[in-house]
Symmetry: C2
Subunit: 294 residues, 2 copies
Amino acid sequence: MMSNGKPRVGFIGLGLMGAGMARNIARAGFPLTVYNRTRLRSEELVAEFGGVTVADSPRHAAESADVLVSIVSDVPDVEAIYLGTDGVIEAAHSGLTCVDMGTVGADCASRVAAALAKKGAEFVDAPVSGGVWGAKEGTLSIMAGGSDAAYAAALPVFEAMGKKIVHCGPVGSGQQTKLVNQIVVALNLEAVAEGLLFAQKAGLNIQTTLDAVGAGAASSWAWNTLGPRMASGDYEPGFKIAHQIKDLRLAIEAAEKAGISLRGARLVVENLQRAQEILPDGGERGTQGIIAAL
Amino acid sequence: MMSNGKPRVGFIGLGLMGAGMARNIARAGFPLTVYNRTRLRSEELVAEFGGVTVADSPRHAAESADVLVSIVSDVPDVEAIYLGTDGVIEAAHSGLTCVDMGTVGADCASRVAAALAKKGAEFVDAPVSGGVWGAKEGTLSIMAGGSDAAYAAALPVFEAMGKKIVHCGPVGSGQQTKLVNQIVVALNLEAVAEGLLFAQKAGLNIQTTLDAVGAGAASSWAWNTLGPRMASGDYEPGFKIAHQIKDLRLAIEAAEKAGISLRGARLVVENLQRAQEILPDGGERGTQGIIAAL
């Protein structure tokens, strides 16, 4: 059921991330139906691109789709759009591949996948890394978990949104890989904050320091991308503090179940929580705001 | 006092780092005089390259040098080779630029610089990042602190050893920048260890995880270089645990004086100390061995 050789895509969730991702799907020429709780955001997309239609519900977005993509905030939202009233499950059919791209943990992914499987639909958990900038530029890293067939069905759509796309294993392994990613992201963030704070206190020229340290064994995406923003006090969100806290809690809970402690990740959560309290509207600021807590 | 247009270089300290660095200086065609406590290492260099001579003391290495480079383990060693009996200070002369490339803190750099200045010699503190691999391949990052004239005198020699060379400011600022670097390196290392430990416990395919996570917002030199070694239990030192602990102590002491706490860096020191205790000959193993402590 493809139109002009491209799978028909349903897209749910035009938030900070989703808006950029849906635009890249439209730009790549996929027939696209979008659903968002606030309808206005969907209508902006229709005005911008030909071939985009607005859906009234998650069910409606899934009805005529070959690939349904969702990216919403948290576990309850994912369960509502898939399993709630007028949810995707009501339109789930054989030939439909659903892809959730939020970070919600492997348990949530498994529950949704099991429900969809009963209606003959496939599920891929495919969380992303790269933030709003990566979503906008189509350079996300995509960590996908699902069957080979489901991954193959989703791949053309992934290619419109991401640069690095990896099939990590069965359902749930995209989520697990993303939690690994978030643990690493969190500690790399703490690294930048402690390093820059030290540099400021030592009276170093910060631009020179950013340049010198970014090239060697200390180099990281965080240093090169968040470092300059942290140094200039620009807390515009690429990735929000509240979301990073949520993701780290998922990781810490999963780690506890596995009997490991992640002391570093816990420290970062503490600092992010303090930043959330200290900064005005703190949870909505970018994670680089962590430096305010140190 | 240059021979064939190149400054004459004295080099002190043919350890894990120095051996690679001195070879790159010899390879670039600088007339080179080397001193090492264990004379055998110097003789290996003479056998390997024309134009290399062996010095009997730090003083001897400095006597006919335009640029004297040193890289030894710790503060007492630096003070011994510069200020001790038969030390560089005894041969210090106007026109000599001394460059210490170890990580010894800004206080040590300032003391040595002041002593040399009395004899008319210049001093540059120029610690490096990039480990033994970077030393061998001539791809070190070099963070230099000193006067413009001293930096200019040392630059051709730096270019034989490094890829990224930054003049950070006056004497001491190379050291301060290096401590920033080590704080960041330490937390990036903790990031890799906590991330990979989680991946192992979650039953993920580690190669796939290394690939997926290394491309996005979690990417770092540590992830891409130390991650695979950590995963395979290869603790061959690029940078030794004992040295990382020493550097972090310098950073933490300097931070305390400045009234900041570096909680993350402190946690990494704890974990490195535990790894040093747990692993056989632990201090001599590479910092990636930290995962054994988690």
